[in-house]
């Protein structure tokens, strides 16, 4: 092996230092200095220090073993639902704390012990090893090219273009049927994104999500807000086995002084100052939940898009580009608030075919 270990003088201090010379350099203009002399550790020179390090390291490994046995005991003995109060941490799971603390401490000790072993007792003299050249020799390169030429020649890949072209054509088509197999990953979008549960039947009553009651206009004071869904949505969800309908139909109802309404998306789409807007942000679809009464603005907690509910749900700030879709409201013969029909446009985030 071409490795060289730099000679150790044994005693690293207390003698004349050789003056440094600056004559050696590489072709890049670096000034190269030789390896500096090895300085002995205490464990190299003192038998007692080495023995002490040995005991220290073995002690860590032994303590690690004890930690692991204790962790098994903790698994068996600490009730899994016990909560303990620990300063700084507060109320925490006793099982998590004891298991994690003991396993963590044990593994940490193994690691610290092993590194201490390497640092204090294993050789710490620097070894010089030459790098091998990464580039192949000219001879190897030429031989490889020759081998390749021979194979190419023998295969007839270049001399028989019909085989080559038909093979390349077949290989190019090979991934296509595999790609088609992904076709049934999802249903076709059709017009699913353009309809919500509000359009399932006309004049759908509105369910207050907080109280679970159907909403009457008098339930909402000026400045009030209700999170709502169409009546029958829960049953629909049971039937469909998913939350898809909810992801489009959730709305927010707010009441403001009718004079404060600057505009609605259709003529008289409010009912006595009550307006209903989709709750699903037109940006990326987060449910919008922060309403500021004074400015009638609705703020999305995800990316801070802000909409003015007194002005047709217009996007006034943030990354959302479109207004929040509005529902036309009315009251039925029994005095319940109803949505006259579905939203006039798709709710939620934009998509290519939306138009």
């Amino acid at each position: 092996m071409s490795d060289t270990t730099h000679g150790d003088t044994g005693h690293g201090h207390g003698h004349e230092v050789e003056p440094i010379t600056y004559t050696q350099s590489d072709e890049r203009g670096r000034i190269l200095l030789g390896l500096d002399e090895h300085r002995s550790r205490r464990t190299d020179t003192s038998q007692r220090a080495a023995k002490r390090a040995e005991r220290q390291i073995a002690g860590m490994f032994t303590f690690a073993a004890i930690c692991f046995v204790a962790a098994i005991a903790a698994y068996l003995l600490v009730p899994k639902h016990d909560i303990v109060w620990v300063p700084v941490l507060g109320n925490v799971s006793a099982s998590n704390l004891s298991l994690g603390g003991l396993i963590g401490l044990g593994t940490l000790l193994i690691g610290v012990g092993a590194i201490q072993w390497a640092r204090a007792l294993m050789p710490d003299e620097e070894v010089i090893q030459e790098r091998h050249e990464l580039r192949g020799s000219d001879e190897a390169r030429e031989d490889t090219i020759e081998q390749f030429r021979r194979g190419a020649q023998e295969s007839g890949f270049m001399s028989r273009p019909i085989i080559r072209r038909s093979l390349l054509g077949a290989m190019a088509l090979f991934p296509l049927p595999i790609a088609f197999l992904l076709g049934d990953l999802g249903t076709a979008p059709d017009d699913k994104l353009r309809h919500t549960a509000w359009g399932n039947k006309p004049r759908t009553r509105i369910l207050n999500q907080g109280s679970g009651q159907m909403v009457r206009p008098e339930d909402l004071a000026v400045g009030g807000l209700i999170n709502a869904i169409p009546v029958g949505l829960t049953e629909l969800e049971e039937q469909e086995g998913s939350q898809n309908a909810r992801a489009k139909a959730a709305i927010i109802l707010v009441r403001m002084n009718p004079d404060e309404i600057k505009s609605t998306q259709g003529p008289n789409w409010d009912y006595e100052g009550i307006v209903a807007y989709s709750k699903i942000c037109t940006h990326v679809g987060c449910p919008i939940s922060l309403y500021q009464q004074r400015t009638h603005s609705l703020l999305c907690p995800c990316h801070q898009s802000t909409f003015d509910l007194s002005d047709s749900g217009r996007a006034v700030f943030g990354p959302a580009a479109r207004h929040m879709p509005q529902l036309q409201l009315d009251v039925d013969s029994e005095g319940y608030l109803v949505a006259v029909g579905d939203f006039a446009e798709p709710v939620g985030p934009s998509f290519w075919e939306r138009g």
Binding site: R30, G104, W352
Partner: protein
């Protein structure tokens, strides 16, 4: 086949059994004594590697209990606040792991913490490789693999924290669906394909689970293996220092020193991760409740590595184009698709970009100290600053509520600062690098200030400067002063050469990259400085001697002799 010595121990016999069949002695003979260079910054990649191992181990454990199903169940476990609540099986099993499996919470928290450390360590490891120029020839491909690994780590982490189907993770998926929908032409189909139809559907979590536990970790494992094999084969880079050259590796042997150090360090990473998981709660899914598409909590924040993307989406102005019955959501595809795409491409292509600018196609095994390549370092800091500005943007709501200020004002300021701060960072970094180089030269020629003052016999005070150690000098002198490119732009007849435009551009870029630099002292200057130091120590010796004499004479003042002042 004959063997010179007959093994008697079980290990020896096993080794012989294996070698009889696989010639393992060939590879082991060469590799057990392999030398690795030592530097603290080389352990950053190790942290990433070990975190990945921890992720594989803890993740496998979690698969034994987690049910990746979006079928609704009524929760009936031990966490009282959610008893009787309808939720998906995925969320219910996450609660069970947290409360009813002994050690389950610990494993969940180890898995989550290790994921945060994994991406973090990869990122910082990448900084190290960038700033020291370790990505240069012959290691460009490993840099690209590293870029892909960081990217995969981010995607894998996001997939992981989306699985428990709590309110926070579901919100992240909703955003993903919104972004997927925004992709031009195919977006709607991509979204419907991913989710098996409309959002949220019931197909997505099982699919994400397969991607999270099989597909991405499989690719990461393969790439990590390739990454390590290349490091092993090409040998590690090393810092300039005494005895270090482009043609050697100076350090310690793999067996036993690095086996003990690296093996031990794995246990340290494991131990620290476990201790943190024992003491610090992460992602308490039980507090967020089950996901439902019509609820969200204010102040929702993704895991740290998604922050820059979230921030980019937040500060993007609301540009959306509608034409010919189609919608193009620039407000989403620019920050969430185009921007990360460009960032990744620039990052992955950087070794070739720099090669284009510097024309440097030599092999590099000695690292650059970041200060010695001021333009590269400044570029890196600029990129990091841009990233951090995006990251800060991801917390615009937190900043607004913490400092009780207007979210609009903060967002608008961030839109401007995003483009103003990075160039400032560039200039400052470059100046700092140049100043540090000057300081290096200064230290070479004048030594360390020792803080010891010497009063010369005639009354003058001088401070003793000590010469740098050989190691310190070697580190500084390992610097390469690079020439600026001067490619031909006109041929022998004074006519513009075919590649004149490109060559001209390269000359100018190279000048921008290298022209402003501080040359290191010449050997002659260094020799002169060394002589100067020996002179200083002679003066000091003399002074000490006189001081003793002075005391020996019982304090009688010794007359100053001829001029012995020291010039600085």
């Amino acid at each position: 086949m004959s063997t010179s010595t007959q093994p008697s121990t079980p290990v020896g016999k096993t080794a012989r059994w294996v070698d009889d069949r696989y010639t393992t002695s060939n590879a082991l003979r060469r590799n057990l004594g392999k030398v690795f260079p030592d530097h603290w910054s080389f352990m950053l990649g190790e942290v990433a590697l070990y975190s990945f191992v921890i992720l594989l181990l803890s993740g496998t454990y979690l698969t034994l209990f987690f049910k990746p199903s979006m079928v609704d169940v009524i929760y009936n476990g031990t966490y009282v606040p959610l008893k009787g609540v309808k939720m998906t099986e995925a969320y219910a099993s996450s609660l069970d792991i947290s409360f009813d499996v002994r050690g389950g919470l610990l494993m969940r928290q180890i898995h989550h913490w290790a994921a945060l450390f994994f991406v973090g360590a990869m990122t910082i490891h990448m900084f190290r490789v960038f700033f020291t120029g370790a990505f240069r020839k012959p290691r460009e491909v490993n840099w690209v693999i590293g870029t892909v690994l960081v990217l995969l780590g981010i995607v894998e982490g996001f997939a992981g924290y989306s699985l428990p189907d709590d309110l926070l993770s579901g919100t992240g998926l909703r955003i993903t669906q919104g972004i997927a929908s925004a992709i031009p032409i195919v977006g709607t189909y991509v979204s419907f394909g991913l989710f098996g139809g409309e959002f949220p559907g019931t197909d997505f979590l099982p699919r994400l689970y397969a991607i999270h536990i099989l597909l991405i970790p499989g690719i990461i494992l393969a790439l990590v293996t390739a990454h390590l094999l290349m490091v092993w084969y090409q040998k590690h880079t090393q810092w300039p220092g005494p005895g270090r050259t482009e043609n050697n590796v100076v350090g310690y042997r793999f067996f036993p020193v690095y086996m003990a150090k690296a093996g031990g360090f794995f246990f340290i990473v494991f131990g620290v991760t476990t201790l943190i998981s024992a003491f610090v709660t992460i992602n308490p899914v039980w507090m967020f409740g089950p996901y439902t598409p019509d609820q969200v909590s204010a102040g929702s924040q993704p895991d740290w590595y998604m922050g820059f993307l979230d921030g980019a989406v937040r500060v993007m102005p609301n540009l959306e184009l509608v034409f010919w019955h189609h919608t193009l959501s620039l407000n989403l595809i620019v920050p969430a698709v185009v921007l990360p795409g460009i960032m990744t491409l620039l990052l992955g292509a950087y070794p070739w970009i720099e090669q284009f600018v510097t024309g440097d196609k030599r092999e590099h095994h000695l690292l650059d100290r970041p200060r010695n390549t001021p333009t590269r370092t400044a570029l890196g800091v600029t990129a990091i600053t841009f990233y951090l500005m995006l990251w800060v943007s991801g917390a615009n709501d937190i900043i607004a509520t913490t400092f009780e200020s207007s979210i609009n004002a903060i967002t608008i300021s961030l839109r401007i600062l995003l483009f103003v701060v990075p160039p400032i960072a560039f200039t400052i970094t470059k100046r700092i690098c140049l100043s540090l180089q000057r300081r290096d030269n200064d230290k070479l020629l004048h030594g360390h200030e020792t803080g010891r003052l010497l009063r010369l016999p005639h009354g003058e005070f001088v401070e003793i400067h000590a010469p740098l150690t050989q190691k310190e000098q070697a580190e500084i002198l390992g610097k390469v002063d690079m020439p600026v490119l001067a490619l031909e732009t006109v041929d022998a007849n004074g006519v513009a050469a075919p590649w004149a435009l490109v060559n001209n551009l390269r000359n100018r870029l190279s000048s921008w990259f290298y022209a402003i630099n501080v040359a290191k002292p010449s050997p002659a200057e260094l020799e002169a400085a060394a002589g100067h130091f020996s002179h200083v120590s002679a003066v000091e010796l003399e002074a000490t001697h006189r001081h003793r004499e002075f005391e020996a004479l019982g304090g009688v003042l010794h007359q100053p002799s001829e001029d012995e002042s020291v010039n600085h």
